[in-house]
């Protein structure tokens, strides 16, 4: 299943639709990086509102995506983690350490704008 990636100015927004298979996550990893390079994006928002479960593979992949994107000088924010999912994740020790997180799309954009406001 394709993850739609939308461009919003200097930022990209990738919205997870539902449960993603491991292959979907892999192709997202490739796809996102390509898009960041193509559009010279400064920030990426990954919206996981539709995910009702997050396993260790998904968690690790998200961290790796954020890492790679940072190597391109861009920042990643994960948004829309549901309360129940967040709780389950931390119990499994999946804390998405080193990756920024925000409540929703609006907050994610505010975070990125704030971050780059200080740099410019």
């Amino acid at each position: 299943m394709e993850v739609p990636i939308l461009k919003q100015g200097e930022f990209l927004i990738a919205t997870f639709q539902a449960a993603l298979s491991d292959q979907d996550l892999e192709s997202l990893r490739r796809g996102l990086l390509q898009q960041v390079v193509k559009f010279r994006s400064r920030g990426v928002i990954v919206d996981v509102t539709a995910m009702d479960v997050m396993d260790s593979f998904a968690s690790r992949t998200l961290r790796e995506i954020a890492h790679m994107i940072r190597l391109r000088g861009a920042e990643t924010v994960i948004v829309g983690i549901q309360p129940e999912v967040a709780f389950a994740m931390v119990q499994l020790g999946l804390t998405l350490e080193g990756v920024a997180a925000a409540l929703d799309l609006e907050e994610g954009l505010a975070y990125l704008i704030e971050k780059f406001k200080n740099i410019d």
């Binding site: 994960i78 983690i81 309360p83 129940e84 925000a102 409540l103």
Partner: protein, 310 residues
């Protein structure tokens, strides 16, 4: 009436019925179990007033139900007696079970204890049994048969009432525990995007879990960016609960909220260090006031006195 041979023993028992030879006697006409039950129930209904009074007196003698007045005891005794007889008659115990739970619901808040309820039901059982002994004392064989019909039913009744009472008590306890939990963990919004979670008393893992769930829901609903968790009122925390606290901080971050923990006692600080909490990840401030001030700074608030204030 033909003179019957009575086997003399000190106590009656099912073995005594059998003539030597071991073959149980067939019931005489009019002595099928259902007939006996009917006879029994008729006897209990006929002597209702007298037996009920005897029972109420026994209750007073043994000093049970002291939390209730004489009138109340009499009223309840009447209901119990009638339900008892009805259960014997219909051999169904659902109505009795419902009545027992209903009764329990009424008397538990009055402070009536389990042993009192079991006690009065057993007293009724004794009073009724004695009346049967008195009535059939000349016909030992018939007495045995009547008791065969009476005893299993009476025991089942005692059981039903006691279990109904205990179940009601357990339900009340669960309800009260839930209420206490709700009371103890309010999530309070004190500013736009700022939540305070004051925790008081003992936290067990279950309460800690409930606390976390409530907080995460609150963060989502109020779009909070900062949460101050104050544990001034918590004396001690075991390792499990300390871990829960760390998890709460981490889960809140995943929802975009920063957590400031305030009011750590020396003991809790020790526990956190012992379990190896990465204190770089935990934002802590000495007291609630300091925590709120830092939260306001994080949110970009500045608090200043009005010039008109005295």
């Amino acid at each position: 009436m033909a003179k019957r041979e009575v086997v003399t023993t000190e106590e009656h028992g099912s073995d005594d019925r059998r003539p030597r030879g071991g073959v149980p006697e067939a019931p005489a006409p009019g002595e099928a179990p259902s007939d006996l039950l009917r006879e029994l129930v008729a006897h209990l209904r006929q002597n209702r007033n007298q037996l009920r009074e005897e029972w109420v007196n026994r209750i007073a003698e043994t000093r049970l139900l002291t939390a209730m007045s004489k009138e109340e005891i009499f009223a309840e005794a009447t209901s119990v007696y009638d339900s008892y007889v009805e259960a014997l008659e219909t051999e169904t115990f659902e109505a009795l079970q419902n009545y027992a739970r209903n009764l329990s619901e009424r008397i538990i808040p009055r402070g009536v204890e389990t042993h009192e309820v079991v006690g009065i039901v057993l007293l009724l059982r004794d009073v009724l049994a004695r009346s049967l002994f008195a009535k059939y004392q000349t016909d030992f064989r018939k007495l045995n048969r009547i008791l065969d019909a009476y005893e299993p039913a009476a025991n089942r009744i005692a059981n039903t009432v006691a279990v109904g009472f205990v179940q009601e008590r357990e339900r009340v306890i669960r309800q009260q525990q839930e209420a206490i939990r709700e009371l103890s963990t309010p999530v309070l919004q004190v500013r736009e995007r700022l939540l305070i979670l004051p925790i008081i008393g003992l936290i067990d893992p279950q309460r800690a879990r409930q606390l976390t769930e409530q907080l995460l829901r609150g963060i989502r609903t109020t779009r909070a960016k900062v949460v101050v968790i104050d544990i001034t009122g918590v004396a001690a925390m075991d390792v499990t609960v300390a871990n829960h606290l760390v998890q709460t901080v981490e889960a809140s971050r995943l929802l975009g909220a920063t957590v400031i923990v305030t009011g750590l006692s020396p003991e809790i600080a020790q526990t956190l260090v012992t379990i190896g909490v990465d204190l770089g990840k935990m934002n802590t401030v000495g007291d609630l006031q300091g925590g709120i001030e830092q939260a306001e700074r994080l949110l970009g608030y500045k608090v200043s006195a009005l010039s008109e204030a005295r």
